[in-house]
């Protein structure tokens, strides 16, 4: 048996512009119900949409990042259907001329390119909340700007599916156009799946699966449908094209509605919004403003800094982390050490992990200086960790902390001598053992010394001083 699974995705991404797509309302669907609404996003008679230019900028950014061709001339369309959460009786979207077409996204692990058929702009609908006795509608989300990304049916299995979703999310996070919270619906994904029996040359109809609120859910739903469709092929069971929903609790997909022939949305050009013109120059400008994309950056990090894959993955997951890394390098060129410190010491201090990098009190230059202090042997790793904690709290420069908090290394010969003398007096028993077990005793005193001074003693100097303090006793014998 030779079954092949074919998966395509439709991904809706809520954009984080400050206002909605066609009115001045705050773009915030999470507020108190119907808090952020106005006659325009409520579709009241006599109101007219005004396209938010920021939305176009964001959409162009996404289209360019996904290697799409951005159209010079496009327009908005009306998609007609009746539903209570759709206040105008139509959704303003782009049907015939999407903003971006013919893009692609490369998957490294699968070594495969997934086609992006189109990216277009549209408005979100309101949200229905079903209560026991009634249904309530919150229009805060009505008019929230969206981009819809449609892939080619190029995904063949669940590992590719997961990698694609992660890679796409990674890319969108990098562009900073959405907060990408699947559980809150700012990233939504619908699956189109069918299975082909290559041997017999037959295939199932395409199933559309909705309500996927996590990547894990998407993968599980894909696996479930794959199996269901394979079985149908095996048993020659006739299936109808359907829209299905993923039931997370039951771990299965269920029928939402059967599709008769394609729905009649009576699309036509939105006459209230002027056609959108994007000159080559404008698109070129947008392209040059686009920062280095994660995939390209990853390859460069590997080559330029000789970092292992694991480090590169983590450093490039969030653009701020990658920027931070490279800026720290300008002060102290020690790629692996800086990478290690970001991944271990720095991240363990941050509650929000990588997400918190954007508003970090620590400046990358200071981080570089801190690493440099250790590279030059001026401070120990332990002190370095202490200073790091201080900087994260106060934002002060490492040298300043070193000076003010008595964290600097103890270099004064006399001071070291005093410390050593004090140590010897406090541990007379150990002192007696020195003759019998000199190595062990020396190690013991070394440890005590470092402990007492919080690691501020230079180990070499301490050893030197200890040895000389202990030696006279040898001559006494």
């Amino acid at each position: 048996m030779n079954y092949q699974t074919i998966i395509g995705l439709e991904i809706h991404v809520e954009l984080t512009t400050s206002s909605k797509i066609f009115c001045g309302c705050k773009n915030d669907a999470s507020g108190k119900p119907n808090e952020n609404i106005c006659p325009t996003c409520m579709g009241y008679p006599g109101t007219l949409p005004r396209l938010n230019e920021k939305v176009v900028d964001y959409a162009v950014k996404a289209a360019l990042a996904l290697d799409c061709t951005v159209r010079n001339n496009t327009h908005m369309d009306r998609k007609h259907y009746f539903y209570p959460d759709l206040p105008k009786g139509y959704q303003i979207t782009q049907a015939t001329k999407p903003l971006g077409i013919n893009g692609k996204l490369y998957l490294e692990k699968a070594d495969k390119t997934i086609g992006i058929q189109r990216i277009h702009m549209e408005e979100d609908t309101g949200k229905m909340m079903h209560r026991k006795e009634s249904t309530e509608i919150d229009y805060n989300r009505s008019g929230v700007p969206l981009i819809e990304i449609v892939t080619a049916p190029d995904i063949s299995d669940e590992t590719e599916l997961l990698e694609f979703l992660e890679e796409l999310k990674n890319l969108l996070a990098f562009l900073e156009i959405s907060d990408l919270k699947m559980e809150e619906g700012s990233l939504r994904c619908d699956l189109n799946i069918n299975v082909v029996d290559r041997d017999r040359g037959i295939k199932t109809p395409v199933m559309e699966v909705k309500n996927l609120n996590s990547f894990k859910g998407a993968v599980r739903a894909a696996l479930y449908e794959e199996e269901r469709l394979q079985e149908a092929l095996m048993r020659d069971k006739e299936l109808l094209k359907e829209t299905r929903g993923w039931d997370q609790k039951k771990g299965k997909t269920v029928t939402l509605r059967k599709k008769e022939d394609s729905e009649e949305y009576q699309y036509f050009i939105e006459p209230e919004i002027l056609p959108l013109q994007l000159s080559d120059r404008k698109i070129q400008n947008a392209y040059s403003r686009l920062r280095e994309l994660p995939q390209r950056r990853r390859n460069r990090f590997k080559k330029q800094y000789g970092l292992p894959d694991y480090d590169v993955r983590i450093l490039t997951k969030n653009p701020y982390v990658a920027d931070f890394f490279e800026q720290a390098l300008l002060t102290c060129y020690a790629p692996k050490r800086i990478s290690n410190w970001i991944m271990t010491q720095l991240l363990s201090e941050m509650d929000r992990g990588l997400e918190g990098f954007q508003d970090l009190a620590l400046k990358p230059g200071d981080f570089g200086k801190l690493i440099a202090l250790m590279e030059k042997g001026k401070i120990s790793k332990k002190i370095g960790e202490k200073i790091l904690k201080e900087i994260l709290k106060t934002g002060e420069a490492p040298e300043k902390i070193l000076k003010n908090r008595n964290l600097g290394p103890i270099t004064d010969e006399e001071e070291i001598k005093e410390i050593v003398q004090d140590l010897l007096e406090r541990h007379p028993k150990a002192l007696e053992d020195y003759g019998k077990k000199p190595e062990k005793t020396l190690r013991f005193f070394m440890g005590k010394g470092m402990e007492k001074t919080n690691g501020r003693l230079d180990p070499e100097k301490l050893k030197e001083s200890l040895v000389s303090a202990l030696s006279p006793r040898d001559t006494d014998k």
Partner: protein, 497 residues
């Protein structure tokens, strides 16, 4: 004292000379409304208290010697498909019979800023679909010139209000003739400005690619004054406007008259008026025909040169208009689902049923007829939609060619005079044909004005002047010349007798 027929300028003079107070003046108008409105039915709501309160405020202002805004002292009315904040905006439909406007339309804001005071909202065909105001869900508006007849439509209430002297002007909307045709039937002036001259924000959409707000008034000077106020400002993000420098229509009109007089020229000296033969091939009522002949004579007397011109694609304009507007209506009336506002069916088993019933009960026959046809075109007759758009383009070209050799175009506004209710409403095609001569300016977006030009003692007839884009000044000059010429003609005829 009878203040009927005074221009806004004359009213302002009376007010500042303290010949009459604003409150007294407004009371006169309200009294007239009380006496006649029950026979006419122009209004759907009248804001009497507010008018008097504002009148008193205006009197105080005059007492203090403050200068007056351009429209101060003028009363006006608003077609009930344009938003006036806090007032009902029914669109003449059961669907919106309790809908309260949450904001003011742009043009209303401008008029109020200039000091105009609103009397209330006027009756219309439901959602502006119709040509006689018989399709209002609430009542039929009668013609003040003859109560047995309709006022025309869809801005029938507006035309009747101005004709009856209920205020100085009225704001209406014109998609295919809805200002010009009732103006013609009621014997007042009605202008549909260039598409994009006046903001559409706050006008309930019927077919937004042709919907345009315009003015009905008793004289050309008032029209110029109001148009100056409601035209879009130079710097605005309002994309229903086409960007341009505002024009001082009122001053330009006065300058024009002054200029001609001082040079001893006739008003239309050097002006070429195109007479499109296709328009005159449409069969006309006798009264309309003789009015047209007289008017063309009057033009010549004023020094204009008349030339015969041709608009070959005119004959497709009515079909194209109906195809385009019905399709747009399907989309623009989709929002009335009874969910967030408007008529909601009391009982329904499902969401689909709720929407179906709410719309079924809320919309009247004419609206339903157009929605069904519009849906049919969208579903099965897409080619006719393409053809209609093609006609629109060809017609634009036809007009541009004519404007190469003519300053203005003159046609009848309608081929009939006002008729009795029920005469045309039984056959939708008869009703549609009433728009035959007005839709061309709508399809092309050209400015057009209807000017009363009937013979004395006869039922009102309108003559339509069409100008090139944004040539409202020339259009108003033409209208003023015609107004002056006809007054002159009548005077001469009286003398002859």
């Amino acid at each position: 004292m009878d203040n009927q027929g005074l221009t806004i300028q004359q009213i302002q003079k009376q007010l500042t000379n303290k010949k009459i107070s604003a409150e007294e003046l407004f009371r006169e108008t309200l009294e007239k409304i009380r006496e006649q409105e029950h026979k006419i039915g122009a209004f759907l709501c009248i804001t009497e208290e507010e008018v008097l309160r504002k009148g008193r405020a205006l009197d105080q202002k005059i007492q203090k010697g403050a200068s007056l805004g351009n429209l101060e002292g003028a009363l006006y009315s608003v077609k009930d498909n344009i938003m006036v904040k806090g007032q009902k905006c029914t669109c003449g439909s059961d669907m919106l019979k309790d809908f309260i406007a949450p904001y003011d339309g742009e043009s209303i804001l401008e008029i109020n800023k200039a000091g105009g005071i609103s009397l209330g909202k006027t009756n219309l065909d439901e959602f502006a679909m119709g040509s006689s105001t018989e399709h209002s869900a609430f009542k039929v508006t009668r013609n003040p010139r003859d109560y047995k007849l309709v006022a025309g439509g869809s801005s029938g209430g507006a035309a009747a209000a101005v004709a009856a002297g209920f205020g100085q002007f009225s704001i209406g909307s014109d998609t295919g003739g809805s200002i010009r045709q009732p103006a013609a039937f009621c014997g007042v002036l009605g202008i549909k400005p260039t598409y994009g001259l006046v903001s559409r924000l706050g006008l309930v959409s019927f077919a937004p690619s042709m919907d345009q707000i315009g003015i009905l008034s008793g004289n050309v000077r008032d029209m110029a004054r109001v148009l100056e106020e409601i035209q879009g400002p130079e710097f605005s993000k309002d994309y229903t406007l086409i960007k341009r420098k505002p024009t001082s229509y009122y001053r330009e009109l006065a300058d024009f008259e002054e200029d001609r007089k001082s040079r001893g020229e006739k008003l239309l000296q050097g002006i070429t008026i195109g007479i499109p033969k296709e328009f005159f091939e449409i069969p006309m009522e006798k009264d309309v025909e003789s009015a047209m002949d007289l008017t063309m004579e009057a033009f010549k007397v004023q020094g204009a040169e008349l030339v015969s011109v041709s608009l070959p694609h005119f004959r497709y304009s009515l079909s194209a208009y109906h195809v385009l507007t019905m399709v747009e209506a399907v989309s623009n009336l989709a929002r009335y689902d009874g969910i967030a506002y408007g008529n909601q069916a009391p009982k329904a088993e499902s969401i689909t049923e709720l929407i179906e019933k709410s719309r079924g009960q809320g919309f009247g026959e004419e609206v339903k007829r157009r929605l069904v046809l519009g849906n049919h075109i969208l579903g099965r007759e897409k080619t006719s939609l393409m053809k209609a758009k093609r006609v629109q383009e060809l017609l634009k070209r036809d007009f541009q060619k004519v404007f190469e050799g003519a300053d203005l175009i003159f046609t009848p506004t309608t081929n009939t005079t006002a008729f009795k209710p029920g005469k045309k409403s039984k056959n939708p095609m008869d009703m549609q044909r009433l728009d035959e001569l007005t839709v061309a300016a709508s399809l092309t977006g050209l400015p057009a004005v209807s000017v009363p030009c009937q013979e004395p003692g006869k039922l009102p007839v309108g003559g339509q002047l069409i100008a090139n884009y944004f040539n409202e000044s020339e259009l108003l000059q033409g209208a003023l010349s015609l107004e002056t010429a006809l007054v002159q003609q009548r005077r001469d005829q009286k003398e002859e007798r």
